[in-house]
């Protein structure tokens, strides 16, 4: 078998792998099985007198679109069961409204006040409709990500039974969403060194958002950029799962990761982001509720990300070893 033929098959398999769901070991297993089948067919065709290149093209064409074959071979597992997708959207909406009211409260408040563990500082930025709208959108993006994280955790624990019968029909790819969440965790881990206050980014006080310069006094906070990144990643998963629109998901992929990278650059450049300290949340020192809880989640995700990356390297080398034995 020539090197070109093997590379062609490998490219096809790589594309099939991107569409596969399931656990890593299952994907590895399915890819090896698929690869063995492809080469069995190629061998058969070359015995019939075809050149290897032609045989490979014939076989791969007969198998069809690699992404389709990959998703049929090992269908993507839903991050949230379809029965919970509608419930997730409803909860996001409820949390958004609550969060938005907090923003409104902070906009009109003259003095700091507390709502349970959340400390709210008056917004001293220009109080106009546009400002409020931008802050409201920021909360929407944040809420969508936060509620999704909560849902995934709860559904994994099997404790979520709310509105189970309501079906939206969307399927989220667990693997890709976890990867996204892990990347977010890494971003937050970096940001952790530059802690300030989670809500202060869009509910600024004396050291609030107006003190984060990047390209002038921006109203777009780093956290909001991260939230946009989460939401575009979710949208991508919904498109991918529901319609299989690969071009759209690719565009969303690029857009969402650009937001993620931009946020990372801003965090590094401004040296300030959020009140998310592992020491605070885990040790309970001055823990500040939502921020501390999220920080714990994000740091754990960052650790998962590191484990996934390490596992990927080991898997890759194991697979190569098996193939060339």
């Amino acid at each position: 078998m020539t090197e070109g033929v093997e590379q062609r098959v490998q490219r096809w398999l790589d594309e099939a792998a991107t569409a596969m769901g399931g656990r890593p070991e299952g994907r590895r297993d399915a890819l090896l099985e698929l690869e063995a089948t492809i080469f069995d067919r190629v061998d058969e065709k070359t015995r019939e007198g075809k050149l290897p290149d032609e045989a490979v093209e014939d076989v791969l064409n007969a198998l069809g679109d690699p992404a389709e074959v990959g998703s049929t071979f090992l269908p993507p597992a839903p991050l949230l069961p379809p029965s919970q997708a509608r419930s997730y959207l409803l909860h996001t909406a409820v949390v958004f409204v609550a969060h938005f009211l907090v923003v409104v409260g902070a906009t009109v408040a003259e003095h700091p006040f507390a709502l349970g563990p959340v400390r709210i500082l008056p917004i001293d930025n220009p109080r106009n409709v546009l400002d409020l709208l931008v802050r409201g959108l920021g909360t929407l993006f944040f809420d969508a990500g936060a509620v999704l994280a909560g849902y995934v955790l709860l559904s994994r624990l099997g404790r979520l039974s709310l509105l189970r019968r309501v079906t939206l029909g969307a399927r989220l790819d667990a693997r890709r969403c976890v990867q996204n969440a892990c990347f977010l965790g890494l971003v937050f881990l970096v940001a952790n060194f530059f802690r300030d206050n989670l809500l202060a980014l869009y509910l600024p006080g004396p050291d609030g958002v107006t003190q984060i310069p990047f390209a002038g006094p921006g109203i777009t906070s780093n956290l909001m950029l991260l939230d946009i990144w989460i939401v575009t990643a979710i949208a991508r998963e919904l498109f991918y799962a529901k319609r299989g629109e690969r071009r759209i998901t690719l565009v969303l992929d690029v857009v969402s990761n650009l937001f993620g990278l931009f946020a990372l650059l801003r965090i590094v450049a401004t040296g300030s982001l959020v009140d998310l300290s592992l020491a605070q949340s885990v040790l309970g020192l001055n823990a500040d509720g939502v921020g501390a809880l999220l920080n714990t989640v994000f740091v754990l995700l960052a650790l998962v990300a590191a484990a996934i990356l390490a596992g990927r390297v080991v898997r890759r080398s194991w697979r190569l070893k098996l193939l060339h034995r």
């Binding site: 297993d29 399915a30 090896l32 099985e33 698929l34 690869e35 063995a36 089948t37 080469f39 069995d40 067919r41 198998l63 069809g64 389709e68 074959v69 049929t72 071979f73 090992l74 269908p75 098996l322 193939l323 034995r325």
Partner: protein, 120 residues
């Protein structure tokens, strides 16, 4: 219209593959061998149908699988598990009942009359 026939035909075949695959796997075979046996028997089956089915049967405990890495390339062999061997005769019985019932309906001029006759 022919694409509709193709679609329905493919669905019917997909339903059959389960019992046929279980029956074939009384002996140790790998996926592509099964594809070829099915094609030779006139039951053309795509890999995208067969392999997920084999995985499902394996996860249900009816099949066992094992990688053989001794040959020129690794192959995953499947075989009936003890549970699968125990279940196969019962599944064959269910299959014979189904084909008998379907045969009766297809050959009957009036399914309603058939139902009445069965009731008596």
């Amino acid at each position: 219209m022919s694409s509709l026939f193709d679609k329905i035909g493919a669905e019917l075949r997909r339903g059959l593959v389960q019992i046929v695959a279980l029956s074939l796997l009384r002996e140790r075979l790998y996926g592509y061998q099964i594809v070829k046996i099915l094609a030779a028997a006139g039951l053309e089956t795509e890999e995208g149908t067969l392999y997920p089915l084999l995985r499902r049967l394996e996860s249900q405990g009816l099949l066992l699988s094992e990688w053989d890495t001794q040959g020129s390339r690794p192959r995953k062999y499947y075989e009936l598990s003890p549970e699968g061997r125990a279940a196969l005769p019962r599944l064959e019985e269910v299959w014979r009942d189904i084909t008998g019932a379907v045969g009766k309906i297809l050959e009957s001029d009036s399914p309603a009359v058939l139902a009445e006759a069965e009731a008596k």
